[in-house]
Symmetry: C2
Subunit: 490 residues, 2 copies
Amino acid sequence: MADAVTPREEDYSQWYLDVVRNAKLAENSPARGCMIIRPNGMALWENMREALDGMFKATGHENLYFPIFIPERFMAREAKHVEGFAKECAIVTHSRLTTNEDGDLIPDPESKLGENYIVRPTSETIIWDTYSKWIQSYRDLPLLYNQWANVVRWEMRPRLFLRTAEFLWQEGHTAHATKEEAIEEAERMLDVYATFAEEYMAMPVIRGRKTESERFPGAVDTYCIEAMMQDGKALQAGTSHFLGQNFAKAFDCTFTNEDNEVEHVWATSWGVSTRLVGGLVMTHSDDQGLVLPPKLARDQVVIVPIYFNDDQRATVLKEAERIKQELADAGIRVKLDADDNQKPGWKFAEYELQGIPVRLAIGPRDVKNENVEIARRDTKEKNIVPQEGIADRVKTMLDDIQTSLYETALARQEEMTTTVDDYDTFKEVLEEKGGFIRAHWDGTAETEQRIQDETKATIRCIPLDQEEEEGVDMVTGKPSKGRVLFAKAY
Amino acid sequence: MADAVTPREEDYSQWYLDVVRNAKLAENSPARGCMIIRPNGMALWENMREALDGMFKATGHENLYFPIFIPERFMAREAKHVEGFAKECAIVTHSRLTTNEDGDLIPDPESKLGENYIVRPTSETIIWDTYSKWIQSYRDLPLLYNQWANVVRWEMRPRLFLRTAEFLWQEGHTAHATKEEAIEEAERMLDVYATFAEEYMAMPVIRGRKTESERFPGAVDTYCIEAMMQDGKALQAGTSHFLGQNFAKAFDCTFTNEDNEVEHVWATSWGVSTRLVGGLVMTHSDDQGLVLPPKLARDQVVIVPIYFNDDQRATVLKEAERIKQELADAGIRVKLDADDNQKPGWKFAEYELQGIPVRLAIGPRDVKNENVEIARRDTKEKNIVPQEGIADRVKTMLDDIQTSLYETALARQEEMTTTVDDYDTFKEVLEEKGGFIRAHWDGTAETEQRIQDETKATIRCIPLDQEEEEGVDMVTGKPSKGRVLFAKAY
C-alpha cells in the first residue's frame, strides 16, 4: 500500500510534509535547506511556468537571463536592499579546491577572489546596473523583461516548497518613463498573478498592499496576493513591487525624456516561486493525499484496467487502450497504468495519493456491458457509466472539478474571514479559529509590531477593495479609515 | 543604421562577437566570465529547450530538479571527477554579509559554514547520493531523469555562449540494471542530440567517441557530436556518457536483481548547453549578421510596411495586417514592424542583422498591384510576388531555407574534411585550411598529447561510423586499425 498520510486534525504540519513526500513532489536534500523537486512536483511547476509564461508574453514581456552571481559591491548600493538580504545570503569567496595535509578538500587559499560574489537572492542590483547601460532615451522605454531562475536565501527554518534556501521563481524587472506607467505595470502584474491563482490553481486570493514594514527591501509599494490555507494560516503567494526611482538612483540609470530633460527611470519588479506548489497542496489536498486542479495536473485522468487472467487481460486492455485514445484525441491528458506488478487496489490508493483528478476503472464485466467506472478525486463520487460519450463526460467532469475546487476554497476563505472590533475578540478568534481577521488599524508600525509580538499575527495586506469606514484601532483607540487583514502566516 | 559587423575574412573572432552583440543575443556581465542572455538570445535557447524537452519526454524521460549546492565532501567521492572539476569551481564559504571598520561589505566571519558548498559544475555527485536512497530493487529501474539548470565552471578565457563561467544546460542522469541497457541509453541520447542538431539547428554533426584523455571525468566512455565551424575549428556540441558503475560505487548505490543478488547500478549522463547558441551563430551567419534556421527563429517572417504619407500608411498597414493574419493562421511566426520611429531601410538592415529568415515588404504600389516583396535572409534573393497564396509560398520558402542551410553546412563540412597520411601534410592542412583531418593514430595518449603540443589539434572523436582500415600512425609509425578525426577546437 501507499504510505499513509497523517490526518490534518492530528498534525497539520506533518500532514503537509506527508502529502509532499508520499505524493513524491519533493524531499530534503543533503545541501542544507535546499530541496530536491521530484518528477511529480516538477511537472506541476512546469505546468505553472508554462501558463504564467504565456500570460507574461501576452502582456508584452520577453524573457532574458542575468548571471547567478552578484558582485558584493552591488549589494551595498541600495541601503534598504542590502539590509534586507545581507543576513541570509550565500557568499562565494574562492574558485579552486585543494587538498590539505590531512587529505581533506579545502578551498585553495591562493584562489581567494579579489571580489566576492553573492548567489542572487533576487536580481534588482545586477539588472539595474545593466539597464543603466541599455537605457538612454525615452525611446528605449519601457523595458518589459522577465527571467526564470533559481535564487538563494539562507533559510534557517526550511520547509519543502514553502520556505527553502534555494527556490525556483520568475522575476520580472521593468523600466518605465513615468511613475504612473510603473504603478500601472505593478498593478497589471498583480492582476496576472491573481488571475493565474484563481483560474489555474483554483486558489482564491485577496489582492492588497503591504504595510511599510512588510515591503520588499527597496520598494516604494509592495502589492501582494494572499491566500488562506486549511489550517487558518495565510500564505503570501506572489508580490509585485513599485520600486519608484530607488534602484535607478542607486545605479544611476537615467534617460532623456521627450522634452530633452534627464530623469531617473521608474521601476517595478514582481515574482512568484515554487512556493506556489506548497500553496496548491495546502489549498485542496485531504487526508488521502494530494488533490490537483485539472488545469495543472500532469495526468488529468488515469485508467486502471482490472483482470484476473490472461484472456481477460487482453480484452480489458484493448478496451482501455481504445478509451485512452479517445480521451487523448479530445485533448485530455490521460495515462493508462497497465503495470502487472501492482494490484488495482494499490493503484487506486496510489493515484488518490498523487491527486489525479479523475480515475477510470474497467474490468471484464464493464467490457461486456460497455461501461466504465468513473471516480472523482475531490468528492470521491464513483459511478458506473456507459463507455459511449466518455470523452465528453470526462471533459465536463474536469471542468466541474476545476470550478468546484475553486468554490470550495472560496467558501472556506469566506468562512475563515472574521470581522472584529476589539482586541480581546481578535485574540480569541486568532486562537480558536485563525483565518483572516478584518480589523481597524491606526496605520503605525508600532501598533503593527505590538500586535505581532503579542499574537504572532501580521497585517497580511491592506486590501485593494478596502471600503472606507470610520473606526478606531482595536489596540490604541486611535482613528482608522478602514479595515486591514490580519492573520498568522507561513 | 545598425552597428556594422567585422567581416569574417578580417577577424573571425571579432565577427562572432559582433554578431552576438549586435544581434542582441548576449553580452558580458559585471560577474566575471558570466554572460547576460538578452531576449533575442533567450528566445533561441527557449526554442531549443522546447524541442529538446519534447524529444527527451518522447524517449521516456521526466524532469526533476536537484539543488545548486553540492556539499564539498561529495566532490571527493569519485577521484577522477574531483580532479576534473576542482580547479574551476565557485565555493560558498559564508552565509552572511557584515560591514567592516571601513564600512565595506565583507563576509561575516561568524557566518563561516561548517561545510562549504560547491556551486554545481555538474550534478552527478549529489544525484547519485540521492539515487542510492531511491533505488533498492530492479523494479525501481530504470530511472530516466533530466534537469534544466544553470551550472558554474570558473572559466579563465570566457567567450559569449561558447565558454562562460555560468551557463544554462540540461543534464540527463539515468540509472540502469545492466551495462548493455546503460550503453544503449547513452547511444540513444547521442542520437537525440544529433537529430536535434541536424533537424532543428540545420547543423551537421559527426557522431563519435572521445579518446580516454578527452573523456568526462568519471566516465567509462564519452560519446559526442562534433560540428565544423566556418573558420575550420570544431565545436563539441553535446556529450553523452556511459558512466559504468563508477558513481554507483562512489555513492554506494546498489540494487537487488531478479536473481536476488546485490549489484551496483549502471549509469549514464548527457548534456547540451547554451554553447549550442554559439554553434548556431557560427554555422550559418554571414558578414551581414545572424542567419537563423526557421525552426528555431522566434520570428520566422517580418513584414516591413513602406509609406510616405498618412493616406498611404492607412492603406499599406491594412494590407500588411491582413497578410500577417493570413501567415499567423497558417502557423507561421510572423511579426509586423509598424514602428514609425525607424525608416524601412533601417529596419531592413536590422532584421538582416537579427537573422529573421524571410522579410516581406509592402508599399503603395504593391497594394495597388496586389503584390508583395519577398526576401530570403540566407541567399539574399528578392522577388515581387502576388499576395495571393502568400502563406503557402512563405511556408515553402521556410522549408527551403531550413533544408538549404543544412545542405550548405554539410557541403562545407565535407569540403573541410581532409584525409591525410603523413604528419607534414597534416600540419600543412591544419595550418592552411583547418577543418577535420582524418588520420591514423596508434591509440596511445602519448601520441595524442604530442600532436596536441606540436599543432594544437586534438582528436575530436573516433567516429562511430569509422571504417576498419589497416594503417600506421602518421607520427610514430605504429599500427592503427582506422582513422580518427583531428581538428583544432573551440
